[in-house]
């Protein structure tokens, strides 16, 4: 028997710490294990006994890149438990805040983490040496997203202005209007980004993904909609756990998700786009046509292009919301009287894909039980499958090249490993 082991000590340019082990026996791939060794963080446990109002701020601490996603899923789930209807004006403001996070998170991934892979650079610094204008565009986009986040969230990282029922304070028209030219410039930067991404050379790959995303009656999904899949699934958000299960694997601190009775599935930009392309607003649709983006993108390397389109969408949507903004009558709404306890579940679209929260609240308003299923947990099995395909296709390549190809397969999905439970270590064991 011939055996081979390839090791990469950690995977760079991913959000979090983890490792990958690939075992090859007699020329075929025996197994692929994405090991997340970032310690478990016990957020679900220390939410127990807390007042429901604390959940948005506690869960925001799960991630420095996508805190708004945690706040959004937490608020919507708790509001569902409370029977609290949040008026459209406040929902629009939440959507505007989410646009800021999408722009910032995607711009970071596109330029600082992902683009170096296509242009042959080890990192963004070396990329900046030869392509300063590209990196500067990325930083300008991040700055625009950050401006939204800072204004609506109260500060630029781990926003503190979101609460169950709405916001602690809503901005005035005068405070928001200076952001219009900023977002208009950002839209133009997003267009340049999509053109830049469209010009990259992509490895030829076609994956048979089951895409899972939200789909709403109108608009590209963020906070609202049913859960749909490319294989016909269509369920209300409340039924998430009926269709998707988390399983423990011995080699990882993060739980993995799969379809009950089925296999891996993919959430995130590729899934949202495939299932909601028709919901993109006009200028973004025009951009999609201009860069020649196919209706469904099944080449994970091309996710950089889909993320660019989503940045354009988030800028266009933010502009629409800014231009139509009038301050809501109230910054937040209170829940109805007589709450007797209950369970609320919600899914929102984090930049990396659907994020599920469930809260079981006592009549005293304290959290009895919490469950959080982040997008990276859901994508783990699919990422392993992608890596397996890479190894099968490149099994004869020397270890460093193979390791590099595996890392790229993982970075395609912008995993946030710290959310899923931080660096990725790659180990290919050829026996």
């Amino acid at each position: 028997m011939t055996e081979r082991t390839v090791r990469v000590e950690y995977l760079a340019r991913v959000e979090g710490e983890g490792a990958l082990t690939v075992r090859v026996r007699d020329g075929s791939v025996e197994n692929v294990e994405l090991r997340i060794w970032e310690p478990p963080r016990f957020f679900e446990a220390f939410l127990r006994g807390r007042a429901y109002g604390e959940a948005p701020d506690i869960t925001a601490r799960i991630c420095g890149i996508c805190p708004v996603a945690y706040q959004m899923s937490a608020c919507h789930a708790i509001e569902r438990a409370l029977g609290l209807e949040v008026p459209r004006a406040l929902r629009d403001l939440r959507r505007l805040l989410y646009c800021g996070e999408w722009i910032e998170s995607h711009a970071l991934h596109i330029y600082l983490l992902h683009a170096p892979d296509f242009l042959g650079y080890p990192d963004a610094i070396r990329l900046a040496k030869d392509h300063p204008e590209a990196v500067a565009t990325g930083l300008a986009l991040k700055k625009a997203g950050n401006a939204l986040l800072t204004l609506l969230g109260g500060r630029e990282i781990h926003p503190v202005n979101v609460r169950v029922g709405g916001f602690y304070r809503v901005p005035t028209r005068e405070e928001l209007s200076p952001l219009e030219p900023v977002l208009e410039d950002a839209f133009l930067a997003a267009e340049r980004t999509a053109r830049f991404a469209a010009g990259l050379a992509f490895p030829k790959v076609e994956e048979d993904y089951e895409f899972v995303a939200l789909r709403a009656p109108d608009g590209y999904p963020m906070n609202e909609g049913e859960i749909v899949s490319s294989r016909g699934l269509r369920i209300p958000q409340e039924r998430f756990e009926e269709e998707f299960e988390e399983v423990q694997v011995p080699y990882s601190h993060a739980l993995q998700s799969r379809r009950r009775g089925g296999g891996p599935y993919l959430v995130g930009a590729l899934a949202r786009y495939a299932l909601n392309r028709d919901r993109l607003p006009p200028r973004t649709q025009h951009l999609v046509a201009e860069v020649g983006l196919e209706p469904e993108v099944r080449n994970p390397h091309r996710s950089i292009l889909v993320r660019s389109v989503e940045v354009a969408f988030a800028c266009e949507e933010a502009l629409r919301l800014l231009r139509s903004y009038g301050p809501p009558d109230r910054a937040w709404v209170e829940p109805p009287d007589g709450f007797a306890g209950g369970v609320g579940r919600a899914v929102t679209e984090a930049p990396r894909g659907i994020l599920y929260h469930r809260y079981d609240l006592g009549a005293d308003g304290r959290i009895r039980e919490a469950k959080i299923v982040p997008p990276t947990s859901q994508n783990q099995s699919q990422i392993e499958a992608d890596v397996r395909h890479v190894v099968v296709g490149a099994i004869d390549r020397p270890d460093p090249e193979l390791a590099d190809a595996c890392e790229r397969a993982i970075r395609n999905h912008d995993p946030c490993i710290s959310c899923a439970t931080h660096f990725l270590k790659l180990e290919v064991d050829r026996g």
Partner: protein, 163 residues
């Protein structure tokens, strides 16, 4: 970049409050803020260090304070100038959420967005585990770093600004 002397110097404390001595740069910023500092603005750093390029835009004189790990006793004070920065380790990304300080400084250099005069004070950290308590060694360095920052700003003539 703004012309020399047109804006006040900026002192930026960097770190994470909840990671023990990693928050020591923030302590320096707060200490300077509490006592007031002549002819300089003081702020706590952005969590996302790439934002530093925006934070110091238009400033000619910037002083950064951050925790360091170099296996020296906690509280040991390091000092680097703009031109010493290449001796800082880049790559290898100790920070997983974006870029490390050294990486961001190198990125800023590539994009020609480093302040004309940049000084970095490092305070050697002891513990960097979860928690908001600082080690006695690191805390003891805070008044000294504040004193040295004020001395540098006086020595530099600071900036004219509105001081």
């Amino acid at each position: 970049m703004a012309s020399a002397g047109s804006v006040r110097p900026l002192v930026i404390g960097i770190g994470t409050d909840e990671r023990s001595d990693d928050g020591i740069g923030l302590d320096v910023a707060r200490e300077l803020g509490r006592h007031g500092i002549l002819a300089a603005d003081v702020r706590e750093g952005p969590g996302d260090l790439t934002r530093l390029l925006d934070v110091w835009e238009g400033r000619d004189r910037v002083i950064l304070v951050d925790a360091t790990r170099s296996e020296q006793p906690p509280g040991t004070i390091h000092r680097w100038d703009r031109d010493d920065l290449r001796s800082l380790p880049t790559g290898g990304a100790v920070s997983s959420h974006g870029l490390s300080l050294a990486d961001v400084l190198e990125l800023a250099r590539e994009l020609d967005r480093l302040p004309a005069r940049l000084t970095i004070f490092g305070i050697e950290a002891g513990a960097t585990g979860a928690g908001t308590d600082r080690s006695a060694g690191a805390s003891a360095a805070v008044p000294e770093v504040c004193r040295r920052i004020e001395a540098e700003l006086r020595g530099s003539g600071g900036s004219a600004g509105d001081a």
